[in-house]
């Protein structure tokens, strides 16, 4: 599960989920909405892929899940970042930044 970085889209998806959950526990739709809002609609998440990714991350030990009440008193599955998840987020963030920088430099060189 650590080779997710090779696939840019998937890598991004994992990182975005981890980042979103680093602020506070959220349920699936909450994550999707938050990512959409913050990215100003650049990223939209498909529920199928999102829920699959959540299962993967949970199995990797980066998330814990729990069914509990939402603010509007509906039952929902909330995801929490674990300690290893937090570390993973740092790794992925650093990695992403390095790559983004490299891409940016390459693009600048042309300009």
């Amino acid at each position: 599960m650590t080779d997710a970085n090779t696939d840019v889209i998937q890598g991004t998806l994992d990182m975005l989920i981890l980042k979103t959950l680093s602020l506070r526990p959220l349920h699936g739709f909450g994550i999707a909405r938050r990512v959409e809002q913050i990215s100003d609609g650049v990223f939209k998440m498909n529920p199928g892929s999102l829920l699959t990714a959540l299962q993967r991350l949970e199995r990797a030990g980066w998330l814990d899940s729990e069914w509990r009440q939402t603010e509007n008193s509906r039952r929902a599955k909330f995801y929490t970042l674990t300690a290893t998840g937090r570390k993973q987020l740092q790794v992925e963030t650093a990695d992403w930044k390095r790559r983004a920088l490299a891409v940016a430099r390459l693009l600048e060189m042309e300009g």
Binding site: H27, G28, F29, A32, P47, G48, L51, A76, K77
Partner: protein, 874 residues
């Protein structure tokens, strides 16, 4: 850590499949509810909110499917689903399933059972230390043109002393003897073995000590079982005395449990290291050698050849044409049973082949019924593998269930096999089902599954959707090749069954011949007592003869007893001797093939008791005493081979049994078959007990009875015990002894017959299946023909003709195969030629009747078909 979580989540997912699916469904539903709630909050109506949520996130079903597909356990789940589907399919076709499973159970069960025996007897290493370094010493004799499994004492001693490549050689001999304990005597297998015996077999006593060369003749080792049975335990046995052949011996030690080499020995008597019998022409010993760890088998063999050549040079007269050789002990022990077991294994293999063909055939029919389903699957774009998979899975499932049932079947079968096994089959006590056998059965099941599914699966994969959908199988428009293939399989089955049945026929005819054979004496109403009197010294021996003669007179007085006699050398008995003899006044003798005969020592009245006809002269009588002139009675064969047409009575004869004095022939009696009904009647030289007292202490007492022989057993036993309780005795009947002498033949015949029976049953199923299927398929055609006025007889004939054609082709192939394979069984037959026309014709008839019988049911059904119903049945 994460791998552990992977596995835990996966297994939990598999365990609570419902819960997990529910969890995913709930989560997806909740996701969409939240989305709708948000859209509503932005002011959309509930309906519009729903639509918006769908537009954004797609359908709930798609999301649910996507999310629940995640995880390694999912492929397991898919496989399980396929398996469940296959299982459901099998449940829906009980006739197919039960037939296929039973067929395979029979095939795999028979093979597992035979393999159990083969594995233990032929494959498993001997249960001795250094088992692979043990070898039996044999003597090749160019005069005989073969090797005998025995050695002479001095030759073996020379090998032992001169060989560099053999670590140790032990000489031994013995047999079933009376062993005298404190107050009774019991028949026991006693082996006289030298001190090297324990070294060769790497034995340590579990109590007491090993005997040494100083102990020769008066110390014994006993088996753990013997110690337990007679003294209560190994420690208790040490120091106890027992008598072997009348001589007292002390038990100095106990061998470990389970060791009973050779032939179930219970008592090992110390014999001197220097062989007692020191003639180089008397093959009185058996010898086992332990090869040195660094010596190769070939090396030892070469060395033995050198030693043999040296001995030939030194003892030119005695050792001419004599060469000693080694045979691995396992091979020596199991060699005789190899042929029988391999034969049975081949037969079992044939059964499995028939079973396989039958199942393949059943599956082929199944897959043809499924042709439409498979065609649609192909048309919808399933890959070839995806189409073949369910066929394979079904077949695998059937094979595994069949294999499991076969193993269950093998348990009782092995027990029956071991119970039936002739005593010549070595190592039967070691036989039991084990991991190897289970592995073998599993392997067979998988191979069977793959084999029987291969054709149907390939056919399934090659289905041309358009073609298959057009040719509706129930309209009699199947492609021609399909029918040919099925017919071919049935033909193969018939041919294989034919081979089995011919084998069974030949062996059964052999058995019938053996059972009906005139043994040369009357076997009915005859009680036989094996009696071993403790006598060795000359005086004792004479007293024993006298004692026996008195005993015979006493026994003759008992009600129900007609005649009584004693004999050493009873046909099929455990005591006996044979060898060369010379005559005075007989025909000239070929020095390379000196005259040979069985030797027998008998009491007066033996011939009348046995019902052996006296042809000329007289029987032994009270006038033939130890002191009077030596006399002999000879059998007709002996008279013919040595005296030709001349009258043998009055001629002189001598043999090396115990003295080289000339004996006068006083009578000629009929021939007997000495060892078994399979043998030719041969030459026998009878001598009176009184004149050969050394051979009169181990005898069979034969009682001709007027009642059922065994009913007299306890009365006779009481009488003998009153005369001398230390006479070891054992009871049987002549019928039982003769019966036992053909146990191997019966074992083979019984097994191959049951195999042939199973084969016949399977072939019948095969014919029935294919005919019934083609009748069902041709319903439409029959309907049309009947509508146009065809006779019922014509229809029936066409169905039976189909079966008969298949059977005919199968029989012709079977005949060719049988004739080709017949050589292999030739050595097992008596008075029946391997190409016995009676067997061939009989078996052909049985197979033809079987095939027609199997076709009769479906044929009759075809004629009962109402044209209207048939035409409507679409």
């Amino acid at each position: 850590m994460s791998l552990w979580r992977e596995l835990r989540y996966g297994f939990r997912g598999l365990r609570d499949r419902g819960a997990r699916e529910q969890d995913v469904a709930d989560e997806v539903e909740q996701y969409f509810e939240e989305a709708e709630a948000e859209w509503s909050a932005r002011g959309l109506s509930p309906d519009e909110a729903k639509k918006a949520a769908r537009r954004e996130g797609g359908s709930t079903a798609a999301a649910r499917e996507r999310a629940s597909e995640y995880g390694w356990e999912n492929s397991v789940k898919v496989f399980m689903d396929d398996l469940r589907f296959a299982a459901r399919q099998l449940r829906k076709h009980p006739a197919f399933t039960v037939t296929a499973v039973l067929t395979l159970a029979l095939g795999i069960g028979a093979n597992a059972a035979i393999f159990t025996v083969v594995e233990r007897v032929l494959l498993a290493p001997l249960p001795y230390k250094n088992a692979d370094r043990l070898a039996l010493l044999k003597t090749y004799r160019s005069q005989l043109g073969r090797a005998i499994p025995r050695v002479t004492g001095p030759d073996a001693a020379d090998v032992r002393d001169q060989s560099q490549r053999l670590e140790a050689v032990t000489l031994y001999g013995g047999g079933s003897l009376g062993v005298q304990l404190k107050d009774h005597a019991a028949y026991t297998v006693v082996t006289m073995a030298d001190v090297n015996f324990a070294r060769v077999f790497a034995l340590r006593p579990i109590a007491g000590r090993l005997y040494t060369s100083a102990d020769a003749k008066h110390a014994v080792m006993v088996s753990e079982r013997f110690a337990r049975d007679n003294f209560g335990g190994a420690q208790a046995a040490v120091g106890q005395m027992l008598g072997v052949e009348g001589d007292p011996a002390e038990i100095v030690g106990v061998f470990p449990a389970g060791f009973d080499y050779p032939n179930g020995t219970q008592v090992w008597l110390a014999s001197p290291t220097a062989p007692e019998w020191n003639s180089r022409t008397g093959f009185n010993y058996k010898a086992v050698a332990l090869l040195r760890e660094d010596a190769s088998f070939e090396g030892a063999q070469t060395e033995l050849r050198t030693i043999s050549q040296r001995l030939q040079a030194v003892y030119a007269k005695d050792n001419r044409g004599k060469e000693m050789m080694l045979q691995p002990l396992k091979e020596a022990l199991t060699g005789d049973s190899r042929l029988t077991l391999m034969f049975l294994w081949a037969a079992a293999g044939l059964i499995l082949l028939i079973a396989c063909v039958n199942v393949m055939h059943l599956e082929l029919v199944r897959s043809m019924e499924r042709q439409r389903e498979l065609a649609i699957r192909r048309a919808l774009g399933s890959s070839r593998w995806r189409v073949m998979q369910p066929v394979f899975l079904e077949s695998m499932l059937v094979a595994l269930i069949g294999g499991a049932a076969g193993v269950l079947l093998a348990f009782p079968t092995v027990r029956v096999l071991v119970a039936m096994a002739p005593k010549e089959l070595p190592r039967t006590s070691e036989i039991h089902l084990n991991v190897w056998v289970l592995g073998f059965a599993l392997g067979l099941s998988v191979v069977t599954a793959v084999l029987s599914a291969m054709l149907p699966a390939i056919r399934a994969a090659n289905v041309d959707p358009a073609e298959a959908l057009k040719s509706d199988s129930s309209r009699g428009m199947t492609r021609h090749s399909a029918g040919l293939l099925r017919d071919g399989l049935v033909v193969a089955e018939v041919a294989a069954t034919f081979v089995l049945a011919v084998g069974a026929g030949l062996l059964l005819r052999t058995m019938m011949t053996l059972n009906a054979r005139d043994m040369g004496y009357e076997t009915r109403q005859m009680l036989v007592v094996d009696a071993d009197a403790p006598a060795r010294k000359d005086l004792n021996a004479q007293r024993a003869v006298q004692q026996f003669n008195e005993l015979f007179a006493q026994l003759e007085q008992m009600p129900g007893v007609e005649r009584v006699a004693g004999v050493m050398g009873l046909p099929t008995g455990i005591y006996g001797s044979n060898g060369y003899y010379e005559t005075r006044g007989g025909l000239p003798v070929d020095t390379d093939h000196p005259a040979w005969s069985n030797f027998s020592v008998a009491s007066p009245g033996y011939f009348r008791t046995m019902g052996i006809p006296l042809k000329r002269g007289r029987d032994f009588g009270s006038e033939d005493t130890h002191e009077s002139g030596m006399v002999a009675v000879i059998s007709e064969s002996l008279a013919r081979q040595s005296f030709g047409d001349a009258d043998a009575v009055g001629k002189q004869i001598r043999c090396g049994l115990d003295s080289d004095k000339w004996m006068t022939v006083v009578g000629v009696v009929g021939d007997v078959r000495q060892d078994s009904p399979a043998e030719k009647p041969g030459a026998t030289l009878y001598m009176p007990m009184t004149q050969h007292p050394f051979y009169a202490n181990q005898i069979h007492v034969v009682l001709r009875t007027a009642v059922k022989p065994l009913t007299l057993m306890s009365a006779v036993d009481e009488r003998i015990a009153r005369v001398d309780p230390l006479i070891a005795r054992r009871y049987t009947t002549m019928d039982a002894m003769v019966d036992k002498s053909i146990a191997t033949e019966r074992f083979r015949a019984a097994l191959i017959s049951s195999f042939a029976g199973v084969g016949l049953l399977l072939a019948m199923l095969g014919v029935y299946g294919t005919v019934a299927y083609s009748v069902a398929q041709r319903r439409f055609e029959f309907g049309v023909r009947m509508a146009f006025g065809a006779e019922r007889g014509t229809i029936l004939r066409s169905v039976l003709g189909h079966a008969a054609r298949m059977a005919c082709v199968g029989i012709v192939i079977g005949v060719v195969l049988s004739v080709a394979l017949a050589r292999l069984v030739e050595s097992m037959l008596v008075e029946v030629r391997p190409t016995d026309p009676v067997s061939l014709v009989l078996v052909s008839a049985v197979l033809m009747i079987t095939a027609l019988g199997a076709a009769l049911g479906p044929g009759w059904r075809a004629t009962q078909m109402s044209p209207m119903v048939a035409l409507r049945a679409e």
